[in-house]
Symmetry: C2
Subunit: 434 residues, 2 copies
């Protein structure tokens, strides 16, 4: 009845010439799958979640502007028509490189002839893992919903709190790290407090909320030109965000954040300061860069394993300018496409394509409504034009048309009204509070 | 700084003539608040959640067609411009009728001159509370997300399960109760399996899923005419749902459901069989109907308490036809509006309005795509016309324009493609599975 073929493709040697396993259904993994669309192979795509997530807009879920379904799509639905792919939701626990199989928690190993690791990055607390229980990060939908829950609950609690010091704490939000995610979050939380929520409370004034961004270095957005960093600093100030430059964090504990002799108690501490690759290098016993990513060859191949590849944030590769390629979606997508084409060529008995070369499409960061920066190499934008370019590019990049339409509706609504449609507390807080 | 006025309005006797407390921000509570818009009173609206929920569409969140933000709106945002209302998120634990104050977990009591209880209903397992841990209910957003998680995870697990019996169990979904919610859920789950997911798996055939609806009585939708019940039965059958009439549930335990000598193991058991009022009657020491609701007078007043009212699902009132008023949104809305007007009249020193009279607007139930029934009294519809009427009425009833627009986009998308945009697993399952 329900079982079409229990022997296929997980539990027996494949009758097809090549078995390709891909771990991770992010930008890189999905690009590789799509590049293998017409390949006579049996592809297995494994991910811990059931969806492809458009991470660049995750901060908008965290700040109640968008819903999870606006920026995430079921991977199975995306790959419905590509019949050579089997999608599996599962936790990879290791790679048996000698036996050429992937170990998955609670399942049989999955055999492969070719393997692509596209497992991405996680947050790193620089050896201070004890800080993790007092700070929030932003990598998954679950992370974003927890941030949303924490932010909205803080205002609710402040409205009924009796102690002025407690009210002040509940209206204080700290962001650590002045990269794109930190800047986006700080600017958007300030807009949430000063515009969206401004008229919604009777005892507290949400516009009095303090948003402080701590950055260890001497400027924001270090991957951008200096002028862009200055613009971001001004834009954040105009949004009411306090920025502390040259302020490395000394400690985060249950009382709050300690940095440069300052101690701040807060309703939320958002950690956006550093990432590390997921443990693919460890699985392979391969050489790793400082952040744990696999140092790959010119074809994104893992040295010593001709048929194993690493792409995206889990790979470390030097660009034509001698600097490491950045942890951006376009890098992952281009690498995924490259490795997919390479494997298809090998299966077809053709020569490998030329080594991977990153085509730099530029970078953008958004600070708030009508405030953004863009660096396309040949052109640099800031303010309105950059914000418009950012909006258009991100709408176009959203993986399916439905998301594009609902995001457009939500954005148009938010732009004209400052309203946010996803201000929902759907779970009781874990500490049993109100 | 952040605190505008800590002495107002929670922590001291009010300087204004009347303090009105309303518990529950559903259809009834919100209608009462709006009817008091121009009243010179200090209104406090208390709810356990931060949102107004459009419950009639909750089953669409549970079946991955809509997102929570499509059918729920932050109560504060809805009441932003009504400056005589303070919204408080909190758990009411009791009413001090002698002291005329509401007891709230972790907060000071809130004093009132007038009180409206609009706390709604919860599910009842008819004295078998031990069944609750093996069954899912559908009342809150959290409930809906848990059902969505359970349904989608069952298909994911079935795809990788090795044991045919386990695959069969994972593709079996049971619904208990043949009222509108049970019929809606059974029909929609079948559509999810047979249309939306049909092409998305490689080893299992989602269309082979079994959906069985158990109803203790001899027909579905007993509040509708007999012909409508027959239509619903045929419509469910055409969608692939098995309906067992005259099949009261004997037991639900960790092995599955027992009914009429039959034992069925399932991935999910959805309990839609009975409700009970939230404990307002108990708080008041008032006379309660069989389902726990407060038996109210002709003005929705609680006998013995001239200034305390109960409305909606937490109230029990007999209609002009001698039958109890049904647990429908229009009843709650009309009662809320009535009590709001009555209190405004008393505060203005005017006479009470005429006793509450329910204006029956009819009832509708949806079975699936293009399949519905409607009974307006003067006209009965089924099939396409009823489905169209249902869609229009529910779109118009959605509380704000933004929801209306995004629901429309999602519905149009789903109608043409059978796709569902909210097929997301955002949390790891609580039992530690994959």
């Amino acid at each position: 009845m329900a079982v079409r073929d229990l022997e296929h493709p997980l539990s027996s040697p494949s009758p097809l010439p090549a078995r390709i396993a891909i771990v991770g259904s992010g930008f890189g993994g999905l690009a590789a799958v799509k590049a293998l669309k017409h390949c006579a192979a049996e592809i297995t795509l494994i991910d811990r979640t059931n969806h492809n997530l458009f991470q660049p807009l995750l901060y908008q879920v965290a700040t109640a502007a968008l819903s999870p379904s606006d920026i995430a799509t079921a991977t199975r639905a995306l790959l419905r028509r590509q019949r050579n792919v089997t999608v599996i939701m599962g936790d990879v626990t290791g790679i048996d490189t000698a036996g050429r199989s992937i170990l998955i928690d609670g399942h049989r190993p999955i055999a492969f002839d070719y393997l692509i690791l596209a497992t991405g990055a996680a947050y790193s607390f620089f050896g201070h893992d004890e800080w993790a229980s007092h700070a929030l990060v932003l990598k998954t939908l679950d992370d974003a919903l927890l941030i949303r829950e924490t932010l909205l609950t803080a205002f609710e609690r402040a409205e009924v709190a009796e102690d002025p010091a407690e009210v002040a704490r509940l209206l204080t939000f700290l962001v650590v790290g002045g990269g794109p995610t930190g800047v986006e979050l700080a600017g958007t939380i300030s807009e949430l407090a000063r515009a969206t929520l401004a008229q919604d409370f009777r005892r507290i004034d949400p516009a009095a909320a303090r948003i402080i961004l701590f950055e260890a270095g001497d400027r924001l957005l270090t991957s951008f030109p200096l002028a862009s960093s200055d613009y971001a600093l001004q834009a954040l100030a105009s949004l009411g965000v306090t920025v502390r430059l040259g302020a490395p964090v000394d400690r985060i504990d249950e009382t709050g954040l300690h940095a440069g002799g300052e101690h701040v108690a807060a309703a939320a501490i958002l950690w956006c300061a550093g990432t590390k690759a997921r443990p693919a290098a460890h699985w392979l016993g391969a050489a790793a860069a400082g952040n744990g990513s696999v140092i790959v060859g010119a074809q994104c191949d893992v040295p010593g394993h001709r048929d194993i590849f690493a792409i995206g944030d889990v790979a470390s590769m030097t660009g034509s300018d001698g600097k490491p390629l950045p942890g951006l979606a376009p890098v992952a997508k281009q690498q995924g496409h490259h490795v997919g084409r390479l494997i298809a060529a090998r299966i077809a008995g053709k020569a490998d394509p030329a080594p991977f070369a990153y085509r730099n499409l530029g970078a953008m960061a958004i600070i708030g409504r009508s405030r953004a920066i863009a660096d396309f190499g040949w052109s640099r934008l800031k303010g309105w034009p950059a914000w418009f370019a950012w909006s258009m590019v991100h709408l176009m990049l959203l993986v399916d048309f439905r998301s594009r339409l609902t995001v457009y509706v939500n954005w148009a609504w938010a732009w004209f009204t400052f309203g946010r449609g996803a201000r929902l507390l759907t779970r009781r807080m874990h500490d049993g509070g109100d």
